[in-house]
Assembly symmetry: D2
Homo-oligomer: 335 residues x 4
Amino acid sequence: MSTRKPFLSDNAATVHPKLWEAMRAADAPDNPYDNDALSQALDDRFSEVFGRECAASWIATGTAANCLALATLVRPHGGVICHEEAHIEVDEGGAPGFYLHGAKLMLAQGASAKLTPADIAAVLDPIRDDVHQVQAHAISITQASEYGCSYQPDELAALGEFAQARKLGLHMDGARFANAVAYLGRSPADAVGPCDTLAFGCIKNGGMSAEALVMFDPAQADLVKFRRKRAGHLQCKGRYQAAQILAMLDGDLWLENARAANAAAAEIAGACSDRLLHPVEANELFVRLSAVEREALRKQGFDFYDWGQNLARFVTAWNTPQEDAMALAKAIASL
Amino acid sequence: MSTRKPFLSDNAATVHPKLWEAMRAADAPDNPYDNDALSQALDDRFSEVFGRECAASWIATGTAANCLALATLVRPHGGVICHEEAHIEVDEGGAPGFYLHGAKLMLAQGASAKLTPADIAAVLDPIRDDVHQVQAHAISITQASEYGCSYQPDELAALGEFAQARKLGLHMDGARFANAVAYLGRSPADAVGPCDTLAFGCIKNGGMSAEALVMFDPAQADLVKFRRKRAGHLQCKGRYQAAQILAMLDGDLWLENARAANAAAAEIAGACSDRLLHPVEANELFVRLSAVEREALRKQGFDFYDWGQNLARFVTAWNTPQEDAMALAKAIASL
Amino acid sequence: MSTRKPFLSDNAATVHPKLWEAMRAADAPDNPYDNDALSQALDDRFSEVFGRECAASWIATGTAANCLALATLVRPHGGVICHEEAHIEVDEGGAPGFYLHGAKLMLAQGASAKLTPADIAAVLDPIRDDVHQVQAHAISITQASEYGCSYQPDELAALGEFAQARKLGLHMDGARFANAVAYLGRSPADAVGPCDTLAFGCIKNGGMSAEALVMFDPAQADLVKFRRKRAGHLQCKGRYQAAQILAMLDGDLWLENARAANAAAAEIAGACSDRLLHPVEANELFVRLSAVEREALRKQGFDFYDWGQNLARFVTAWNTPQEDAMALAKAIASL
Amino acid sequence: MSTRKPFLSDNAATVHPKLWEAMRAADAPDNPYDNDALSQALDDRFSEVFGRECAASWIATGTAANCLALATLVRPHGGVICHEEAHIEVDEGGAPGFYLHGAKLMLAQGASAKLTPADIAAVLDPIRDDVHQVQAHAISITQASEYGCSYQPDELAALGEFAQARKLGLHMDGARFANAVAYLGRSPADAVGPCDTLAFGCIKNGGMSAEALVMFDPAQADLVKFRRKRAGHLQCKGRYQAAQILAMLDGDLWLENARAANAAAAEIAGACSDRLLHPVEANELFVRLSAVEREALRKQGFDFYDWGQNLARFVTAWNTPQEDAMALAKAIASL
C-alpha cells in the first residue's frame, strides 16, 4: 500500500502530530466524563472562534453530531429538509431516524448538493398544512457540500431569513467546515452564518476520534448533554477527546490543515477544469473520466472511488503530499 | 491534585503505555471504519480468548456496548430483567430505553448486586402471560457486579439454564470483566459462562476509548454492525479503536492490569474486613465509615465517593500505587 | 352466562342507549376525521364542563389517551413518576415506552395507589442532577386510583404546587374520573385540580369506543393532533366517536352513570366494611376473602377477579342491577 | 349539504345498516378486549375467506393496520420500499416512522401508483450492501392503488417471486381491497396473492371504525397482538369492532358494497374515458378538468377534490346513488 497514492477519502488519514502531543499531555489524572479541565474549556474556546456565546461538546462521529444537533431542532413527528444526496440521508445508516425517533428526512434537489431557499420551498410548499402530512421542523445543509462546494455568507444569510420566516431550525453539517472556511477566506462566523447548530468536523482534518457539536443557542446545551449520554456517547475519559479538539483550534491548526488539503485539490483541479462536474471549493473533486481513463490512473497507483458512471471522486487530505497532487494532476492532464 | 490519592473510580485512570504504543503504531494509512486490518482481526482474537467462535466489535462506551448487545436479544415491546442497582438502570441516562425503542427494564433484587434464578423468578413469575403486561425477553447481569462481586462459573451455569428454560437471552455487562476473571482465577470462558453477549470492558482497565462487544452467536454480528452505525458509533478511523483492544489482549495485559487493581483492593480489604458491606471480589470496596471517619480520611488526602449513609466506595485501578493502597489500608485501620 | 352476576370489571359493560341514539343520529354525511360538526364541538363542550378554556380530542382507548397526554409533558430522555401499581406501569403493555420514545416510568409508593408530594419526593430526591440519571419531567396520577380511591381537591392542590415547584407536568389518568367526581360531590374542575392534561374516561362508564383527551393548555392541542394521527388513532369517521362523548356529557349522563355504579359499590361496601383493604370512593372494592370464601361466592354466581392472595376485586358498572349488588352484599355478609 | 352530491371520498360515508344491526346484537355482556366470542371468530372467518390459515385482528384505522403489519416484516434499522405516492408515505402523518422506530420509507416510481419488480429494483439496486446505507426489509403495495388501479394475480405473483428472491417481506395496503376483488372478479386469495400481510379495509366500504389486519403467517400473530396493545389500539369492548367486520363478511356484503361503488365509478368513467389519467379499476376516477370545468361542476352541486393542476379526483362509495353517478357522468359529458 505504501506506493499507492490515496485519494479515496480524507476520513482515514493519519492523525496530526500535535493532536498526539495533546492527547499525551492529557494523560494525567483528571475528572471523568466531561468534568475535566479540557472538556470544560470547550465552550469558551468555541465562543472565541465564533465571536459569540456558544456551547460545545465533543462527540465521536459526525453522524452522532448531526443527529444530536437535529434532535434539538426537530420533534419526533416532524421532518428535516435536506439535499437528496446529503450525508444524513445517504450515508448515515438511518441514524437520523433513530435519533429523531422516526422523524422524516424530506429530500430537496439543488445544484452541487447545496440548497437555496427556492430549492427548499419546492419541497415545503406542496405539503398540506394538516396532520396527515409530516411538517418540516428544520433544514440541514452541509458546508462544504457533499460535492465539495461552499456556501457563501450571503447564501447562508438568505437561508437564515427563509428558515426564520418558515419557523424552521437550521443545522449545518460541517464535516468539512474547515475546508469551507479556508476556501472562503472568511471568518468562521461568516462561514456558519445564522445556523442554530454546527457539527464541527475535526476527524477528516487530522483528528482521531472527536468532532465538536456547537450550539449557538446555549440554552439547548443541556438537551445535547442528556441526549449524548443517552446515546452512549459520553466517554468517561473525555479529556482525550477534548484534547484533540483544543489542539486543532490552537494556532488555527484546523485552518492550516484545511488549507493544505484545499491547495492539493486546487492543484489537481487546475489540470482538469474542463472535466470537473462541480466547482472545487474545498478538498473534493468530481471528475469526468471514462472507465478506460480510470483504469489507467489506477494502474499508475492512484486510488479513488468511482462515483456513478464516467465519474470519479478524488479527495485530498491535510497530509496529501504535494508531489502526489502534482503527479495526479499531471496524470489526468496526460490522459 | 498530585498529592491526592484517588480512589474515586477507575474510569478516569490514565491510559496504559502499551496502548499508546499500539495506537501510534496504527497511525498509518489503512481502510476506514472497521475495514482496516486491526478491526478485522478482532473476531479471531476474541475467538481465541474464549475458545469458541465469536464476533467482536469495538465501541466507544460500555453504555453503548450494553445497549447494542441487548438490542440483539430484546424486541421493542419486551423487557430486560436486571438488578435494581444495575448500571444500565441507574447510570446510563436512559440509554436502554433509547436503544431498545422503549423496552422496559424490570428490576430484580439480589445480594451484592448479583442475581440468582430465584431472584429473577421473583420478577418473572408474577407477570401475567398476556399482552397487557410487558414480557421479559432477556436478562442482564454484571460481572463483576456493581458491588464488586464476581459470579462463579456454577452460578453462571444456573443462570444459563434458567434463561434457556424461560426462553430469555442472557447478557453480561463486563465493564470490569477483567477484574472478575483475575479474581476467579478461571478462564475467560468460565467467567462469561453461557451468556449470549458480553460487553468486554477495557476503558476502566487502562484503555482510552474502546470497549469490545462480543457476540457468542456470530449470526447476530451483522445486526450489531448495522445498529452501531445507526447509533453514530462507527468511527471512521476505527483502527485506533481496534489497536487499543488488541494491545490489551496481547500478552494478557488485560489480566495483568486487573490483577494489579485487585491486589490493591485486597490490600485495603485486609485492613477493614469487619467494615465491608460486600465481599471484595474485584477492585471495588464498599466500606462502613461514619461521616467523621470519612472526613478524617479525606483530610489525609484520600479521595472517594460517599455511597449512601455511613458508607464509602473505594475503587482501585490498574495503576493504583502499591503505597497508596497500603497507606489507605493503614489509615482505615487506624480510625 | 346470563345467570352470572358480573363484577369482573366495568370495562366490558354494555353501551348506554343514549350513546346508541347519538351514534345513529350521527349517521349522515359530514366531513371526515375530526372536521365534522360533532368533533369540532368538543373543545367548547369541555370548556363548559371545566369552566375554563380547554381543548379536547376523542381517542379510542385510555392507554392512548394517557400516552398522548404524557407526550406533551415529557421528552424522550425524561421520566414520569407514577404509582408502582399505576395502570400505565402495570397494564398498558409498555405503551408509555412506545409513545414517549423510551422515556422511563419512575415508580413511587403510596397508600391506596394514590400519591402525595412526599411519596413523589421519595423518588425524586435521590436522583442525582446529572446526565447519568434520567430526570423526571412529569407526574401521572389516577383519579379515581387503581384501588378505587379519590383525590380530594386539597390533595390535588398540594400536588399541583409540588409539580410547579419541581417544574414537572401533571397528568391525570381519569379512566374512572366520572366515579371520582360523583363520589366527591364536587365540580369536575375541583376533581381535576391543577392537572395539565386529563384522560377523561367514557368507555368504562357506558361508552363504546371513545375516551376524551382534555388539554388544559390549548396551546398543546396541536401536538396532540399530530401525535394522534401519527399513532394511527385519527379515525376517518370521527363523528361516531364525538357523538358518544357528547351524549355522555349531555344532561350529565356521565355523572348519572357514575352515581349508579358508585351506589352499587357502596351497597356492597356497607356489608363488608371490616373486610375492605381500601376505602370505597368510586366503583371498585378490594375485599379480603379466603380461597374458600371466594369459591363459595363463585358458586353462587358471582364473577370477580382474585387480586393477589386472600383478596378479591369487585367492580360495579353503570348498569349493575341494584338486586345484584344487594345479592352480593348479602352473600358476603353471610360468609 | 343535503342537495350536494358528494364524490370527495368514501372515507366519510355512512355506515351500512347491517353493521348497525351487528353492533347492536353484540351489545350484551361478554369478555373484554378480544376475548369475546366475536373477536375470537375472526381467525377462522378470514381463513375461510382466503382459503388458507391466517390470523386476523381488528384495528381502528388503516394507518395502524399498515404499520402493525409492517412492524412484523421490518426491523428498526431497515426500510420499506413503497410507491412515492403511497398512502403510508403521503397521508399517514409519519406513522410508519413511529411504529417502525425510525425505519425508512424508500420511494419507488411506477405507473398509476402500482409497482413492478423493475420499479422496485430501480430503488434496490443502487443501495450499497454496507452498513452506511439503510437496507430494505419489505415492500408495501396498495390494492387497489392510490390511483384506483388493481394488481392482476400475475402481477402479484411476479412481485412475490421478486420479494422472495430479495428476501423482502411483502405487505398489502388493502384500504380498498374489496373494490379490487370486485373489479378483478377473482377470489380474495387471487387478489392478495403471495403477500405476507394485508390491511383489509372495511371502513371506506360501509364500516364505522374497524379494519382487519390479516397475517398469512399466523406465527406472527402474537407480535401483532403485543404491538397493538402497546400502541393503545386494544379496545376493551372489542366485540363491537369484531361485529362490524363479521357483518361485512357475512353473505359477502363487502363485495356487494364494493360492486356498487365500482359500478358507480364505471358509470362515470364511461362518460369521460378520454379525460381519464388512469384506468378505472376500482372506485376512484382521476379526470382531466380545467379550472373552469371544475367550477362548472361544483356549481351543479358536485363535490370532489382537486388533484394537482387540471385534475380532479372523484370517489364513489357503497351508497353512492345511481342517479348521482349518472348525473355526474352527464355533467362531465356536457362540459
